[in-house]
């Protein structure tokens, strides 16, 4: 593993139109979790497409810090959960779809199915295993796509709005997985709009019209005092009582 370097990268979908992305320079550090945000149409998904190589770069190049150029990366280096996961489900059943990535990457059928089964379990997809992907509800389709890249175990992981459509259980599962990825020092990008990722990510990048307008290591925007006071309670250890909290709200420095 190594960091990933983008140099003067730009993507233009059609000649004569403005570039959907870039030109931009960006280094994605090894083990780093980046939250890429920005208005609709600012180029987030285009960045994902550039990194996965599904759109050709108009200018610039992408390489590993070891020097390996993007077109020499082994298959499966980049795992991508698309914004519309329906577009990436190709198996006849959910179980098969999830097993496809490991299979494609050259493991045996048995191994692939085993890896797939583990992913199915991890994402609570057991009951849906034999369903056609297109017969799942939107939220479960999303879950299945997440399980699919989990089984793929890529070097760089890109999650395009992974929190879309998920109910609170799904969101819990997703957040647990994302925290787990961080512990494992997985290099990954989360694209989206929700502030929840600012807390989890190491770095937040703001795109506007294809350009990086801000690139900051995360700082909590949420009121620090409130956050800190509640943190113990929030994660379930050392709970302040409700009365303590309320007393703080009424008389103390705590400002919600």
């Amino acid at each position: 593993m190594a960091s990933i370097i983008l140099e003067r990268v730009s993507v233009r979908y059609d000649v004569g139109t403005r570039a959907a992305l870039g030109p931009l320079d960006l280094t994605i550090g090894e083990g780093e979790c980046l939250f890429v945000t920005g208005p609709n149409g600012s180029g987030k998904t285009t960045l994902a497409r550039a990194l996965t190589g599904v759109v050709p770069l108009t200018t610039g190049h992408i390489r590993m810090s070891t020097g390996v150029d993007q077109n020499k990366w082994p298959p499966g280096t980049v795992g991508w959960v698309q914004q519309n996961p329906r577009q990436q489900m190709v198996g006849a059943t959910v179980a098969e779809d999830i097993g496809l990535a490991p299979l494609w990457l050259g493991t045996t059928w048995d191994q692939a199915m085993k890896q797939g089964q583990a992913s199915l379990r991890e994402f609570g997809l057991g009951p849906w295993a034999q369903y056609k992907p297109s017969h799942l509800s939107g939220g479960w389709q999303h879950m299945a796509a997440l399980a699919g890249v989990h089984a793929q175990d890529p070097t760089l992981l890109i999650l395009d709005e992974p929190d879309a459509m998920l109910d609170s259980c799904g969101l819990d599962r997703l957040k647990t997985w994302v925290r787990h990825l961080k512990e494992r020092h997985q290099t990954f990008l989360i694209l989206g709009h929700h502030e929840r990722w600012e807390e989890i990510a190491d770095r937040v990048i703001n795109l506007e019209a294809g350009r990086i307008v801000a690139d900051e290591t995360t700082n909590y925007r949420v009121n620090e005092g409130w956050q800190q006071f509640l943190r113990g309670w929030w994660v379930g250890t050392d709970q302040p009582t409700v009365t303590e909290v309320m007393s703080e709200i009424c008389h103390g420095t705590l400002n919600i």
């Binding site: 979908y13 920005g38 208005p39 609709n40 149409g41 987030k44 998904t45 914004q83 519309n84 329906r86 849906w128 017969h135 799942l136 509800s137 939107g138 939220g139 479960w140 879950m143 395009d160 709005e161 879309a164 459509m165 998920l166 109910d167 609170s168 259980c169 799904g170 969101l171 819990d172 709009h193 929840r196 409130w226 956050q227 509640l230 309670w233 929030w234 009582t241 409700v242 009365t243 909290v245 309320m246 007393s247 709200i249 009424c250 919600i256």
Partner: protein, 254 residues
């Protein structure tokens, strides 16, 4: 006027809506876990409306791409008005242009819908529905993929639509739903109507913010708070202070 619907099957989940009253104005939430059948309820409602000819129910699907069939943004919003004619009346032209403008899509009028970004596609599906002005809007996860600016557009549009149409919304964001709708249905093997604040308290999953968590705990110990007050910190604070002043909070009770 409202519409009474009975015995509507939700096929894949094998349950049935025994009876449902679809109102003719206001904003309503349809909430339930992933896979509960909310989208099916919507498509069944649309099919009911088509067969009964009682009203025009307009669905904006969870996956907007499935609804975008034309080769340009402009055609996507204008095809229902053309009906064989090439020219649009000036009225329609202006109205449609204004709607595209509101959604930030006028600049993309020549672009193919599938070439739009995810958020732009959702805006287009919503804009196309607005052009049709249905009697009931069924919005399946309309908030998803929208940036903050477009969320504001959506919110003000919904408030505009509800004057003359009912707007039924599914969303997993309780916070958002509670700020915009006051009642709705819980959907899980049945359709249970209720106050959204109560439904939140009964059915919502793990709280996402400390304040939401605090509120749940207050309700657990039967504190006289408004279930939905946590959506607005100022409102929550106001209720807490009121209780404190009235001496309702005693250490012993908590």
């Amino acid at each position: 006027m409202s519409w009474h619907i009975e015995h509507l099957k939700v096929p894949h989940n094998h349950w049935e809506i025994e009876s449902m009253v679809v109102p003719d104005s206001g904003i309503w939430g349809l909430v339930g876990p992933n896979g509960a059948g909310k989208s099916q309820v919507f498509s069944r409602l649309v099919s009911w409306s088509i067969h009964s000819k009682a009203a025009r129910f307009g669905l904006v699907a969870q996956n907007p791409l499935l609804q975008l069939t034309e080769t340009s943004v402009w055609d996507q919003v204008t095809w229902p008005f053309r009906r064989g004619r090439n020219e649009l009346s000036a009225d329609v032209h202006n109205r449609v242009s204004q709607i595209l403008e509101d959604w930030g899509l006028l600049a993309y009028r020549e672009q193919e819908p599938w070439q739009l970004s995810g958020g732009q596609q959702r805006c287009l599906a919503l804009a196309a529905m607005e052009c049709l002005a249905p009697d009931v809007y069924l919005l399946d996860e309309p908030l998803e993929n929208l940036d903050h600016g477009h969320r504001n557009v959506l919110e003000s549009k919904i408030r505009e639509w509800e004057q003359s149409a009912a707007v039924i919304i599914t969303s997993h964001s309780w916070q958002w739903l509670l700020t915009i709708a006051s009642a709705g249905w819980w959907c899980h093997e049945e359709l249970m109507p209720g106050d959204l604040g109560d439904l939140w308290y009964r059915f919502a999953g793990r709280p996402e913010t400390p304040l939401e968590d605090l509120w749940r705990r207050l309700l657990d110990v039967k504190m006289p708070v408004t279930p939905r007050a946590w959506i607005d910190p100022a409102w929550a604070r106001h209720e807490v202070i009121k209780m404190w002043d009235r001496g309702i909070i005693r250490e012993s009770t908590l």
